[in-house]
Every structure is written in structure tokens, then in C-alpha cells.
């Protein structure tokens, strides 16, 4: 035990850092649960309690979510954590934080197997542990993070599977789960498997007739996609490039945009939930490391570096098939390749034969820039981001629903404005509404029980007192019971009472 700890002390430290950064206040920062997280969480809760999703479908293979049909794996992964932590932020975000942490460990084993260099493997896992890109999505329940985990797990198991059928089957199971985790995985996993086959076809074909087992497993995992093919096209139709005027041109510019230095190092993604303002998806100190790392990999004659470069080239294909671009979420296909390239660059610097104090000076300058960069990122993330991007995270809904929940029994109807989007799911989630009662009413998302959700205006139809919840700009009854403020101080909701 002692020798294991001594031998792996750096890896253990990196894993502790990775876990700490992903679990520290993961329920509170990001500011609040986004609508997709709430929907996923409530459906997981509904399946846990009743075996059916919010619409009453028994053990669904796809989850209907606001007009889209998403693979159901992410909802099923939430079930154990919701059973333990309850229907709340921790229950929803725990699996993503856990799998994000484990992805760091997998990266270590991946690089160790590919490049057979412990230093580069440690650097890779360290860079991923502190990566702004990966942290943003490890602290957020999104199925793309599950795709990353299962995809990397599949590669690691495959690389260790030399003539071992059990590991090959485990690898195939992992790829199958990845395929059913996220819409984008339907493009990414086939592309990734193609690249793996191009570089490792000898190892694959060495299994000969036994390949029928992984083939059947992959086919089984394709069934949910085939059975729900029409509904799975809906998302593609709304964001796909085929709907644009010049699809090829859109694809090329979208592909290239994911290698834009501004996207990577200075500005990040424009979508508020995808990156911290003032930061890129990667640290700026990684820029010179990545340049050195790319040169290092290009110069290598062996297969593994070429495989990594091929991964780097094809990772932009899935996000380029949709708009807008660049897209940090769809571009999670780049995890953990940029960290690996930067690690190669770091290894080049540390092993460079530079005379005298020049090397020490260079390392010192890099370390100083890195320190400043990392400290600034965490300051921006914990202090600035919640206030600047609160509206992007549906901030205010939790406090509103909890306030309404305390007093709802005194009212015959509760009308909530739909201005901020999908209030019904927030009401179900934060009110912990019984799925058994909700499922028969799920066809109509404009009302359930005594709750009504309105657009520009609302007309009272039931006798008795009514509670009306409106956004800050909208007219409301005179008697305001409570005002809900966002974390940045903006007024979000007025909760008012009327008898007329």
C-alpha cells in the first residue's frame, strides 16, 4: 500500500485536485440549474418513482425534452444520485462531476499506454484537471460530458485489449453507451471508431471470427437510434448545416473556427453557459506548449502520435455539422486531446538541453504566467461568472418556486409567466411534484393541477384568490407579496396576489 502511494503520489495529487475542482460548491456554482438540467433531473426522478418519464413512457430509450428527443442514457445515469441526494442540484450534477473526475484518470492511462511516458501522462491529466473547458462542463449536467467519459474509456479499454476479448467487449460496451449518450455522439463515435480502425486495424482484425461479438453489441446499441430515427432528426433539422444556404462553406468555416486562437485562448464560446467571459477554453500559457507539442507529435515516426494528431483533426467534424460555431459543448470531442498536446509541449521544455540558467528562466517565466492565468480564471469563475451570467442559468426560478410552494395552499390558482421559458418544468422540479399525479396531465404544458403558465397575459377563470408570478417588466396585481432577485441583484419575478 505504502509503495503504491509513493509510486503514484503525483497522480493521487492530481486526482485530488480534479475532484476538488469539480465537487467544490458544484451545486451552487454555476449559479443555478439550467432548464435542460431540470428537465433531465425531473425525468430521472419520474423514472425512479414510476418507471416512466414525465410523459408516461415506460423506461424510454429517448427522452422528449421541449420538442427535441434526446438519448435517455443521461437521465438513467442521474437516477442513483437522485435516489441518494434527492431531487436537487447535487443529485443532478453529481454524475457529471464524478465522470469528469474519472476522465482525468482515464487520460493518464490513455497517454501512458499510447506514448509510454509517465511524465507526459501526468502533465496531460494535470492540464485536464485544471482545464477551464472541461471544468465548465464537468460542473454542469450535460450528456456531452458522458459522451466524453465513455468515449475515452472505450479507447483506453481497446488499447489494453490486445488479444483479450473481454476487454474488447468492454470497450465496445463503452462506445455503445457513448453512442447513446448525446445527439452529437451519433456523428462523433463513428468518426472516432473509423480513426481507431485506420490506425489499429491489425489489432482489431487479429480477433478474426470473434469480432462478431463486438459487432452484435454495437448493433444492439444502434437499435434505440434506429427505432427513434425520425424523432432524432428533429434536433439536426433545427441546428444542422443542411438547413443553411451554403452547407459546404458553412462546414468549412465551422470546422476551422474550432482552431481559432481567440476561441481557444482569449475569448472562448459566446454562449454564456459555455465559458467564462475574459477567458478562452484553454489557458493562454498553454499556447506555446501546444505549438511545441504539435511539433513534437508531427516529428514522431510511430503510430500513437499520428493517432493523436488524427484525433485532433477529426474532433472538429461533429461540431462543424451544426450552427453556431465555434461551439464549446459540441466541441467536447477535443477533450482530452488539447491537454495531451500541451503536455507533450511541457515535456519538450523540461527535457530541452538549454545551457545555463536560460532553461530555468524560461520555466520560471512560464510558471509565473501560468500561476497568474490559473488564479485569474478561478477568480473570474467563482466571483464574476455567477453575477455576469446568472440570466443564462435560469436564475431566480428556484427561489420563486420555493416561495410559491410555501403559500400555494391558500390559492385556487397560481399563474406563472412563461417569459423566461418553460416554467412548468421548474415548478415540477423545485416543487418535487409527484410524477404519478403529473403524468396524466403532461399532454398540456400550459397547466397542471392549480398551476397555469401564460404568455403575454393571463385571464383568471377560477373563483377565489390567485397568485400571479410575472417578470420584472410586466404589469402585475397591486398586492406584491414577494420579489425575487437574481444573484446579480436584478429583479426577476414579482409574486402578487389578486382576487379579481
Amino acid at each position: 500500500m505504502k509503495s503504491f502511494l509513493t509510486k503514484n503520489v503525483f497522480l493521487i495529487i492530481i486526482m485530488v485536485i480534479a475532484a476538488a475542482l469539480r465537487f467544490y460548491q458544484f451545486g451552487q456554482d454555476h449559479p443555478s440549474l439550467f432548464v435542460d438540467e431540470v428537465s433531465n433531473g425531473y425525468n430521472a426522478y419520474s423514472i425512479l418513482k414510476t418507471g416512466r418519464d414525465e410523459y408516461g413512457n415506460f423506461l424510454p430509450l429517448v427522452i422528449r425534452s421541449f420538442g427535441d428527443y434526446n438519448p435517455a442514457l443521461s437521465a438513467y445515469l442521474l437516477i442513483p444520485s437522485i435516489a441518494v441526494f434527492g431531487l436537487n442540484e447535487s443529485g443532478v450534477r453529481f454524475p457529471s462531476a464524478l465522470l469528469g473526475t474519472l476522465t482525468v484518470l482515464l487520460t493518464y492511462f490513455l497517454v501512458l499506454k499510447l506514448l509510454r511516458n509517465n511524465k507526459i501522462a501526468l502533465f496531460s491529466s494535470f492540464f485536464l484537471a485544471i482545464s477551464p473547458w472541461h471544468l465548465q462542463f464537468s460542473r454542469y449536467d450535460h450528456e456531452a460530458n458522458f459522451m466524453v467519459f465513455f468515449g475515452v474509456l472505450g479507447i483506453v479499454l481497446f488499447l489494453h485489449s490486445s488479444k483479450n476479448l473481454r476487454l474488447l467487449i468492454a470497450s465496445t460496451l463503452s462506445f455503445g453507451l457513448a453512442l447513446n449518450s448525446y445527439q452529437g455522439a451519433k456523428i462523433w463515435i463513428p468518426v472516432l471508431l473509423t480513426v481507431i480502425f485506420l490506425f489499429y486495424h491489425k489489432e482489431v482484425l487479429a480477433f478474426r471470427h470473434k469480432l462478431v461479438y463486438p459487432f452484435i453489441i454495437l448493433l444492439i446499441f444502434c437499435f434505440p437510434i434506429i427505432l427513434n430515427f425520425k424523432s432524432s432528426l428533429i434536433r439536426g433539422q433545427s441546428v444542422g448545416i443542411l438547413g443553411t444556404q451554403k452547407p459546404l462553406e458553412t462546414f468549412i468555416t465551422g470546422y476551422l473556427s474550432h482552431y481559432n486562437p481567440n476561441f481557444l485562448f482569449t475569448s472562448g464560446d459566446n454562449i454564456g453557459r459555455h465559458s467564462v467571459p475574459g477567458m478562452g477554453e484553454l489557458y493562454i500559457f498553454e499556447a506555446p506548449l501546444i505549438v511545441l507539442g504539435l511539433l513534437f507529435l508531427v516529428r514522431q515516426k510511430t503510430r500513437a502520435p499520428k493517432f493523436l494528431l488524427a484525433w485532433l483533426l477529426v474532433a472538429a467534424i461533429p461540431p462543424a455539422t451544426a450552427v453556431p460555431t465555434p461551439h464549446a459543448l459540441r466541441g467536447l470531442t477535443f477533450i482530452p486531446i488539447w491537454s495531451i498536446v500541451a503536455a507533450c509541449g511541457a515535456s519538450v521544455i523540461f527535457s530541452a538541453k538549454i545551457k545555463g540558467g536560460a532553461k530555468k528562466g524560461l520555466v520560471f517565466i512560464l510558471a509565473a504566467v501560468a500561476f497568474y492565468n490559473i488564479v485569474t480564471y478561478f477568480h473570474l469563475y467563482y466571483k464574476h461568472y455567477p453575477k455576469e451570467k446568472a440570466p443564462d442559468w435560469s436564475d431566480g426560478y428556484k427561489e420563486m418556486v420555493q416561495a410559491v410552494d410555501k403559500i400555494k395552499d391558500g390559492y385556487s390558482s397560481i399563474a406563472i409567466s412563461s417569459y423566461y421559458g418553460h416554467p412548468y418544468i421548474f415548478t415540477l422540479f423545485y416543487g418535487k411534484y409527484d410524477p404519478v399525479k403529473y403524468q396524466p396531465q403532461s399532454a398540456d404544458q400550459t397547466k397542471f393541477d392549480k398551476f397555469e403558465f401564460f404568455g403575454p397575459s393571463w385571464k383568471k377563470t377560477k373563483p377565489g384568490k390567485a397568485l400571479v408570478v410575472t417578470p420584472e417588466w410586466q404589469a402585475h396585481p397591486d398586492k406584491v407579496l414577494k420579489q425575487i432577485y437574481s444573484i446579480n441583484g436584478d429583479l426577476r419575478f414579482n409574486i402578487s396576489e389578486t382576487e379579481q
Binding site: 468549412i252 476551422l256 482552431y259 481559432n260 486562437p261 482569449t266 485569474t376 466571483k383
Partner: protein
């Protein structure tokens, strides 16, 4: 055959309409960004935060460096290069960069790294557009010379 390919692809690279443009990002915009950014960032930090920490994290040097980095990186935007030299040209442009590092042509490397200073110092973009086309053609020459 190689010369024929060089002429054909060079003509393709040259004929790409250089309609690439960059967002306005120069010395003036970098200076102008400093006061509002400092105000916004220090306001969010609030008065309860240690002033030294606030100044360490949000200062003129850091903001100026951030703005300069953004302006600098704009010139290496792959889409800007693509719209200057085309799809074939961007591949040969990358190969040119790889070769000048491999062959230790430090002068060309310095020229490449200094080019983004032109728009930052409010000079015309035209030298960059011409330089990128030239680099793409040289890169094409390097590539063809490797073919047997």
C-alpha cells in the same frame, strides 16, 4: 509535372479573392477598453475584497495584454487564412510554417510572428494578405519538392 502542379495551384491560391477582413483591433481599441473593463471588473469584485488582490487580478497591464493577445490572435484565425488563400492554400500555409521551423529559417519565422503587429499598429492589412499568399505558394513548393 511538379512545375505544372506548382503553377496550377499557385494560380488557384493567387486567384482566391482576398475578401478576408479582421475586426478593428489596434492600439487605440486596446487603450479604450481599459477604463470600462477595469470599472466593470472592480465593481463586480466589490468593496469587501482586498484592494491589493483586486489590483493584482484587474489591472491595466493585464487588460492591455489581454486586448493585445486578442488582436494578435485575430491574424492567425484559420478562417482569415482560409478566406485569404483558399482551402488548398491553408494546407500549404500550415506546411510552410512547419517547414520554416524544421529548417530553422528563423528570419521567416520572425517575419511571420511580426506580421500581426501591422494591424495592431494601424497599418494596412494588405501586406499580410500578400504575405500569406506568398507563404502558401512557398509551402506548396516545399510540399511538391518532397514528392517523388
Amino acid at each position: 509535372m511538379k512545375i505544372f502542379l506548382l503553377i496550377i495551384f499557385s494560380a488557384v491560391i493567387i486567384s482566391v479573392r482576398a475578401n478576408a477582413s479582421l475586426p478593428i483591433c489596434n492600439l487605440d481599441t486596446a487603450k479604450q477598453a481599459i477604463p470600462p473593463r477595469i470599472f466593470a471588473e472592480q465593481t463586480i469584485d466589490g468593496r469587501d475584497q482586498n484592494i491589493t488582490l483586486t489590483r493584482f487580478l484587474h489591472n491595466k497591464i493585464g487588460i492591455y495584454a489581454s486586448e493585445f493577445s486578442r488582436c494578435y490572435a485575430n491574424v492567425f484565425d484559420p478562417n482569415f487564412i482560409y478566406h485569404t488563400v483558399g482551402i488548398v492554400g491553408i494546407i500549404t500555409w500550415l506546411y510552410f510554417v512547419y517547414q520554416i521551423i524544421q529548417r530553422k529559417y528563423y528570419f521567416l519565422l520572425i517575419v511571420l510572428l511580426a506580421l500581426p503587429l501591422l494591424p495592431f499598429l494601424k497599418f494596412s492589412l494588405l501586406p499580410i494578405l500578400f504575405a500569406y499568399k506568398l507563404f502558401a505558394i512557398i509551402g506548396l513548393g516545399f510540399l511538391l519538392s518532397k514528392l517523388k
